[in-house]
């Protein structure tokens, strides 16, 4: 299946037997891939499978150690991203970086705007060209609008328009949907279909399998840097794809264990933060996994922050293991046995430039230090111990966490908090943006923790995850808890009804 039938169109861009190593890490081994015009090609694989390296090789950031990059069938060597761009290859990243104070049109034509006599910038022409690009994409965005305040979805559209303005024939989309809402994804897919019909070759990366099946025709799967398969998606099932990515049958994505709930470990009473959430009360018992569902912006994360103490509460009380927590004091919450795995692992969960060892060590500075001095041996063994227990894939424990893949970064955040031996664990979007194999591992871990008597509060926008893992589901809508649904009654319908304010229980 590696070669398309001879009758089909010729590939615009292809990799042939490409290998690439970084130090001892073999990021790509003998990987081949062909991108055809008018086709959306999925790149599947777990975090760390080599997807990023492959993208960077196509985009001219990396040069292959072995193998070739073929453009229109001819071998090429890109000496940098500029070469790749000139060859018509554009990469759209998950979070675009636009100049906030410039207009959409100015962002698109940055540095090469149409000129009039005497070198003056032709605003009218810039504007018109941008409007034409937007029409081509079938999107209604005002070219004169400043980029500041555009949603991530709109920013991506601007990036795509920019790529088109460079006459890009190959579009590489690196997890473009990770931060988008359902309707934004639908619009993006509309744009992708339009591009496909206009003959562009698209390489699409997503951790959401259903998206791959919705928009792509062909799929190439990588595992541990090796090429596993390149084949049409038609006739494949999600299970088939997962098996290729993970290399085995995934035992179960939601390995829920039945645990008898013990005494109350976390008690939140009438918690209020003005203008954010109101009168939030709930309890989590030992051995329980309580799901906290709701739409983005319903106030779930904010409740977690106030419970942990990173934000102050205006009213209400929080008790952990019977101890009342001081207001706005995360260190007191930690001392009482509370741990929070925050929503944004890059900014809140980890110090990206710091080593794995020190990131995990950050929560244990007081406990591992002796006579007021950091005990490096104890710190290292504590960090190593937890990194190994959670099967973090790393080269050296002293490497910066920024060198790890997203899933492994998330494991480091979990390690950092599990190392504190928490009584209550709050996890906010614990599996967002991580691959399906790691996701299953995280779920298994949460199940085991609950079985060991930890009280788990799980905030998630991933409904199947909530339904699969939670003993009870709390639903928030506009800053209030609108429903508490036992596991037996929790379905997508009941949860969504409460989350959108259509029903209260």
């Amino acid at each position: 299946m590696t070669h398309p039938p001879d009758t089909g169109p010729a590939p615009v861009l292809a990799l042939k037997g490409v290998s690439k190593s970084f130090g001892a890490v073999r990021a790509l081994r003998d990987v081949s891939l062909e991108l055809l015009p008018g086709e959306v090609h999925a790149l599947a694989g777990e975090n760390g499978a080599g997807k990023s390296t492959l993208i960077k090789t196509l985009a001219g950031v990396h040069r292959p150690d072995a193998g070739q990059v073929l453009l229109d069938g001819e071998p090429v060597v890109f000496h940098g991203p500029g070469d790749a761009r000139d060859a018509g290859i554009a990469v759209i990243y998950q979070e675009p970086t636009l100049f906030p104070d410039l207009s959409i049109a100015e962002n698109i034509f940055m540095g090469r705007r149409p000129r009039r006599a005497l070198g003056r910038i032709d605003h009218k022409a810039t504007h018109a060209a941008t409007a034409a690009l937007m029409r081509r994409l079938g999107v209604d965005l005002d070219p004169g609008r400043p980029a500041r305040g555009l949603s991530i979805a709109d920013q991506q559209i601007v990036e795509i328009a920019k790529a088109l303005s460079f006459d890009a024939r190959v579009l590489i989309m690196d997890e473009p949907t990770a931060a988008l809402t359902g309707s934004e994804v639908a619009r993006l897919f509309g744009v992708v279909r339009t591009l496909r019909e206009q003959g562009a070759a698209v390489l699409f990366i997503s951790h959401r399998l259903e998206e791959i099946f919705e928009i792509c025709q062909q799929v190439t799967t990588l595992r541990d840097g090796a090429w596993i398969a390149g084949e049409p998606l038609a006739g494949m099932s999600e299970d088939d794809l997962v098996r290729r990515m993970v290399g085995r049958d995934l035992a179960e994505l939601y390995p829920k264990q039945e645990v008898r709930a013990g005494e109350v470990a976390l008690s939140v009473r009438r918690l209020t933060r003005e203008g954010v959430f109101t009168d939030v009360s709930f309890e989590v018992r030992r051995g329980e996994i309580v799901g906290l569902a709701g739409l983005v912006g319903a106030g779930r994360t904010e409740v977690a922050r106030a419970v942990f103490g990173v934000d102050r509460r205006d009213a209400g009380e929080v008790e952990v293991g019977g101890r009342r927590l001081a207001n706005g004091a995360p260190s007191a919450a930690m001392a009482a046995g509370l741990a929070l795995v925050p929503e944004d692992r890059r900014a809140q969960g980890l110090v990206m430039d710091m080593s794995i060892e020190r990131n995990i060590g950050l929560t244990g500075l007081r406990t591992t230090s002796r006579a007021g001095l950091v005990n490096r041996t104890a710190e290292r063994s504590r960090s190593l111990d937890w990194a190994v227990r959670l099967q973090v894939k790393y080269a050296r424990i002293a490497d910066a966490v920024s060198t790890l893949s997203g899933g492994n970064q998330q494991k480091v955040v979990l390690a950092k908090w599990l190392a504190t031996g928490p009584r209550v664990l709050i996890v906010d979007e614990p599996t967002r943006g991580i691959d399906v194999g790691t996701k299953a591992e995280v779920h298994r871990l949460l199940g085991e923790l609950a079985a060991d008597g930890v009280a788990v509060l799980m905030i998630s926008s991933d409904l199947p995850e909530i339904l699969g893992m939670a003993d009870r589901v709390l639903v928030m809508h506009e800053g209030r808890i609108t429903a508490e649904i036992p596991r037996a009654d929790a379905t997508e319908e009941t949860v969504m009804a409460a989350a959108t304010g259509r029903a209260t229980a």
Binding site: S21, F22, G23, A24, D65, F308, V310, P330, S331, A333, M334, L340, P342, A347, Q348, G349, L350, V351, M352, D353, M354, R358, G361, L362, T363, L365, R366, S369, G372, L373, V374, R396, A398, K416
Partner: protein
């Protein structure tokens, strides 16, 4: 192996090596450098910079900066002179000056942590304000008649050696700073704050309190330096130590402390201080004009901001290419 490679090109090591090379060359080839009197001048003149560089390093590692240090030192000296003229005992005056430094640091720290203002802006403001207050306090007077045993201590040497007596207290403070930054949970939290403030907060580190503490310590150390300055040069004037903040910041950056926070060592900072001090001393001995000295210092400042970044790039490139 890559770890040793990384260490081999660490910037603070580079600065330490440069310092040693400069000292060896100066001993060998610069007339008048090696005699005890010159060396004691060199160290004595560099001590104020070295003292303030200690808390400044902690502050910059935590991602903040204090440009008001020289003005705080000046204010401290001015108040010291004023109170001495009023007839107060020096044993009372010195603690009061330190308290004044605490207050100056507190103002900086509260403006930064409570109001969330950038420390660069806040301390440029207090740089002017504290100096202004110093001038109001003392006017254009110069107070010189401090008790001789204090003057002797601040200007004297240990026995016949070239080491100033004040060098011993400095060594103690240096040791405290090294342990604090590199061996305590507090020091670790400074690196975390500098490299990722939000993540530090989410790990239970009291970011605001820590920063406030650093500003207070910097204020106190600046005031102490102001006292030392007035005694060392036997002159308390409102314009004492003017411009010293630039030397401190230049030395700290030269020592490889990342201006963006999260990186640096006390050793690097101290090496930077003495490299700068020795360079100025040598240039004076070689009759390099004051203007040219300023140019050299300026160039060094730019190099010191670039150097660590280049060193890091090299070490990253080597690590990436070591087997590939």
């Amino acid at each position: 192996m890559p770890e040793s490679l990384t260490r081999a090109v660490r910037w603070d090591t580079v600065v330490g090596a440069l310092l040693i090379v400069l000292l060896l060359l100066s001993f060998g080839f610069v007339d008048g450098f090696g005699n005890a009197l010159n060396l004691s001048f060199l160290i004595g003149n560099t001590l104020p910079i070295a003292l303030i560089a200690l808390p400044m390093t902690l502050l910059v590692v935590a991602g903040e900066i204090d440009l008001s240090v020289a003005s705080t030192a000046g204010l401290s000296g001015a108040v010291m002179g004023k109170l001495w003229n009023e007839g107060m005992a020096i044993e009372t005056i010195i603690p009061l000056c330190l308290l004044l430094g605490v207050a100056c640091g507190l103002v900086n720290g509260l403006l930064v942590t409570r109001l969330g203002l950038p420390s660069l802006a806040v301390t440029i403001g207090t740089l002017a304000a504290y100096r202004g207050v110093a001038q109001i306090v003392l006017g254009s007077d110069a107070v010189t008649d401090f008790p001789s045993r204090y003057l002797d201590f601040a200007a004297g040497r240990i026995g016949d050696s070239f080491l100033p007596q004040a060098f011993l207290p400095f060594l103690v403070l240096l040791a405290v700073a090294v342990v604090l930054l590199h061996a305590t949970p507090f020091g670790r939290s400074l690196f975390a704050i500098g490299a990722g403030e939000e993540a530090a907060r989410f790990a239970g580190i009291r970011v605001k309190r820590t920063k406030l503490l650093l500003f207070v310590a910097t204020g106190a150390m600046s005031a102490l330096t102001g006292v030392f300055w007035a005694l060392h040069y036997a002159s308390a004037r409102y314009d004492n130590a003017t411009g010293l903040e630039l030397s401190v910041v230049a030395a700290v950056l030269l020592g490889g402390i990342d201006f963006d926070g999260g990186r640096g060592t006390i050793g690097g900072a101290v090496a930077g201080v003495f490299l700068l001090g020795a360079l100025q001393n040598v240039m004076s001995l070689l009759n390099v004009s004051a203007q040219s000295q300023i140019v050299v210092t300026g160039v060094l400042l730019v190099v010191s901001v670039l150097g660590p970044r280049v060193a890091r790039q090299i070490s990253l490139a080597r690590a990436a290419g070591s087997t590939g």
